[in-house]
């Protein structure tokens, strides 16, 4: 089942689960261990921070409603010291006004009650995406377009445009390989890892909608460019300044 990065003899990914419900903690840890993860648990934010002092995991799964220190505070504190990926596991659903705040600090969001296979798929997706080096700062793509993926928004001609979670996931993948082509299959895997029935048309349609949002002329895109028969490429316009901006944003092209 697992096709993660550690099947070729690499070490198993280390996870830290923070939840105040001991039943859930025990069960989820069992399930994840059975799937080959190395799992640590913490009952609250303080314990989690203590465990982090001993060593950083590859990924954290954090509940939002916890006594003493809530998940949002914990996540912010963690992000302030280390850019560790976080998956929020919460009874607060995405229609809640608080969900936006959570999504700013978290890489992904799973609502309770969860389906274990879905949660596992999301964990794997976030771990895979680590190679993408998600930019936490603004990425200037041209005079009219700046991506602020950590806020899930783009600034198009001076106006902030909200991106959907999927759109920002696709842009993460493209931005990590700025200027190079990313295959449709890769994008499909990045955007819809937890959807069994996704097919390439998901990518086409999402890209079309994305262009309507961020391109000046969606019929003649300059930033989100189709590479026939292969996939898509994110292009920066505006010369040297833009090249400097890439460096400033700390984006390294993925190897290969």
């Amino acid at each position: 089942m697992l096709s993660g990065g550690w099947r070729d003899g690499a070490t198993a990914p280390r996870l830290l689960i923070v939840d105040d419900d001991p039943n859930l903690l025990v069960l989820l840890a069992d399930q994840l261990r059975a799937d080959g993860f190395e799992v640590q648990t913490a009952r609250d934010g303080r314990e989690a921070l203590r465990r982090l002092e001993a060593g950083w995991p590859d990924l954290l799964i954090i509940d939002m409603m916890m006594p003493r220190m809530d998940g949002l505070t914990l996540a912010r504190e963690i992000k302030a010291t280390a850019d560790l990926p976080i998956i929020v596991l919460s009874a607060i659903d995405t229609a809640d006004s608080k969900a936006d705040l959570l999504e700013e600090v978290a890489e992904d969001y799973v609502t309770k009650p969860y389906h274990y296979p879905e949660l596992r798929a999301r964990i794997l997706r976030v771990l895979r995406r680590l190679g993408d080096k998600v930019p936490r700062r603004s990425l200037v793509l041209g005079p009219d377009l700046t991506l602020e993926l950590h806020r899930r928004s783009a600034i198009v001609g001076g106006r902030a445009v909200q991106l959907t979670p999927t759109e920002s996931r696709l842009l993460y993948a493209l931005a990590a390989n700025l200027g190079s082509t990313v295959s449709t299959e890769t994008l499909l895997a990045r955007g819809w890892a937890d959807t069994d029935d996704a097919d390439p048309s998901y990518v086409y349609v999402t890209m079309r909608r994305l262009r309507r949002k961020i391109e000046r002329d969606p019929d003649r895109p300059v930033h989100v460019v189709t590479v026939r028969g292969v996939g898509y490429r994110l292009v920066q316009t505006g010369g040297d300044e833009a090249a400097d901006a890439v460096e400033a944003a700390g984006i390294a092209p993925a190897p290969g």
Binding site: A91, A95, P113, H115, Y116, Y204, V205, R209
Partner: protein, 502 residues
């Protein structure tokens, strides 16, 4: 305020302009006076002088002349001399009378023209006062009148400016301070304060000569008393009824402003309280949701784990029922968000057929046949996946409940020319009575009352609102039977390799 006649700079110190001296024309002012005759005052004075001084003299000359003629001494030289003398005396008399009359009426004309200038709005105009006679006193009182008018005008202007400045959003305390300060400046007071108390509790003090003069005005709003204005004027300052009127006017206006500010503060406080309550409600719902979902999460997860070890229908039922309960909790949460307008949708593209199929499987309606027909091959809907699931669960659950075990049919089809997709969910059941159709989408609506106790009665209401929030709609087909149509924004199939090539 600018542009009104009174805006001329005060010129009390400039040399007082005296009116033009009478030259020729009789004053038009006199003709309009309420008291007086049609003949000008100067003409009448001249005639009076002539009659009293010149007429007796001329008469005496005439008598002398008559006697000379009667005496029969026809010395033509004497006659001529006499005639000449009479004529000269008459001429001199007229001249003197005219000059005297002019001298007497000139100050009156000056006063008249000064009054006219004041009435035109030039309050800075003053009359030069020379001497101490009655006319000089008249001129002085005119000057005082003009100065008073000018001062009140200035005060009125300051007061009106102060009233204009009093906006309710400043808050009552600031408004009171500002109004008292402005009134003090405008009326030249030593001190001034606005007290929001019953005026009866503030003792009235009588003015003592040589000491600052107390003034007060009650802040009245119709019959209601808002407070009282108290202050002190310099001892040298006069205080006329007109000044009191001005202060009362100010007090009335400030009373309105204070009341507005009080109401504004109350509304602000209520708004803040509502926001607080809203946040508290959000927190409460979040807590309830968390406290209900946490045990459900464990129940569900353990049932799932046990079931994966050795499949058991009983474990599946535990999982399904936990899911059902969890969906109901969400539904109540959604209702609360709909009520407070806090519902948000996030649109993603998705294929409808697998969603509908999964929603059906999640219901685990054993023994009820289900068909799914997809006429929108390649179409993708644009919807919030979580919210769409809520809608599908509610509609499919309804179809099972009211279909009486008949086949539940779902059809997905693009709506021609509108860029939309429709999901039709029909059951072969007895359908809906007309009475039930109306109000079906209302809150707590439940069909028939034939004893379907399960469900919250919120399903259709929530579903329709969710569909609308996602940019679509939900309606009941007019045909008999229970056929619901979900409409969602859709994206047509696309050959991504060619159509989007830049």
């Amino acid at each position: 305020m600018a542009g009104e006649p009174g805006t001329r700079e005060p010129t009390a110190d400039e040399p007082v302009a005296s009116g033009p001296l009478p030259g020729g024309s009789a004053g038009a002012v006199d003709e309009t006076a309420a008291i007086g005759s049609r003949l000008s005052f100067r003409l009448r004075l001249t005639l009076a002088l002539l009659l009293t001084a010149v007429a007796p003299l001329a008469g005496f000359g005439l008598v002398l002349l008559t006697r000379v003629v009667q005496r029969g001494d026809p010395d033509p030289a004497l006659r001529s001399l006499l005639l000449l003398g009479i004529a000269a005396a008459a001429l001199l008399g007229v001249l003197v009378a005219l000059l005297l009359a002019s001298d007497l009426t000139a100050p009156l004309r000056a006063i008249a023209s000064a009054v006219e200038r004041v009435s035109r709005g030039d309050l800075s105009s003053r009359i030069e006062v020379v001497g101490t006679d009655e006319l000089a006193r008249l001129a002085e009182s005119h000057n005082r009148l003009a100065a008073d008018l000018e001062r009140r005008n200035r005060e009125l202007r300051s007061i009106l400016a102060a009233i204009e400045e009093a906006t309710p959003s400043n808050g009552v305390d600031q408004l009171i301070d500002m109004a008292a300060r402005d009134a003090r400046a405008a009326l030249g007071m030593i001190d001034a304060a606005i007290l929001l108390v019953d005026p009866l509790t503030v003792p009235v003090t009588a003015p003592v000569p040589g000491e600052p003069r107390p003034v007060r005005a009650v802040l009245r709003l119709g019959d209601e008393i808002v407070g009282v204005f108290v202050g002190h004027l310099p001892a040298t300052r006069t205080w006329e009824p007109a000044d009191q009127d001005l202060l009362e006017l100010f007090a009335a206006e400030i009373a309105v402003a204070i009341r507005n500010a009080q109401l504004f503060e109350r509304v602000e406080a209520q708004n803040a309280r509502l926001l607080e309550l809203d946040a508290a409600k959000d927190d409460f719902l979040r807590g309830v949701s968390h406290n209900l979902q946490t045990p459900l999460t464990s129940i569900r997860a353990y049932a799932e784990q046990l079931g994966s070890d050795r499949p058991d229908r009983r474990l599946a039922i535990i999982g399904e029922q936990a899911d059902r309960l969890s969906r109901m909790v969400r539904q109540l949460l959604t209702v609360s968000r709909l009520e407070s307008g806090a519902l948000r949708s996030r649109s993603e593209v998705l294929a409808l057929a697998p969603h509908v199929r999964r929603a059906w499987e999640a219901l685990a309606a054993e023994g009820v046949p289900f068909t799914l027909q997809d006429l929108g091959q390649g179409w993708l809907a644009v919807a919030d996946p979580d919210q769409l699931d809520q809608v599908l669960w509610a509609l499919l659950d309804n179809a099972v409940k009211y279909g009486g075990g008949a086949t539940v049919q779902a059809t997905i089809a693009p709506i021609p020319g509108r860029g939309q997709l429709g999901i039709t969910i029909a059951d072969d059941g007895p359908g809906l009575a007309d009475a039930d159709r109306a109000g079906l989408f209302g809150r707590y609506a439940r069909s028939g009352g034939e004893g379907h106790p399960e469900g919250t009665g919120l399903g259709l209401y929530v579903s329709r609102e969710l569909c609308r929030a996602m940019g679509g709609d939900l309606y009941l087909e007019p045909s008999p039977g229970g056929t619901f149509v979900v409409v969602l924004p859709g994206e047509p199939p696309e050959d991504g390799e060619t159509a989007t090539a830049g």
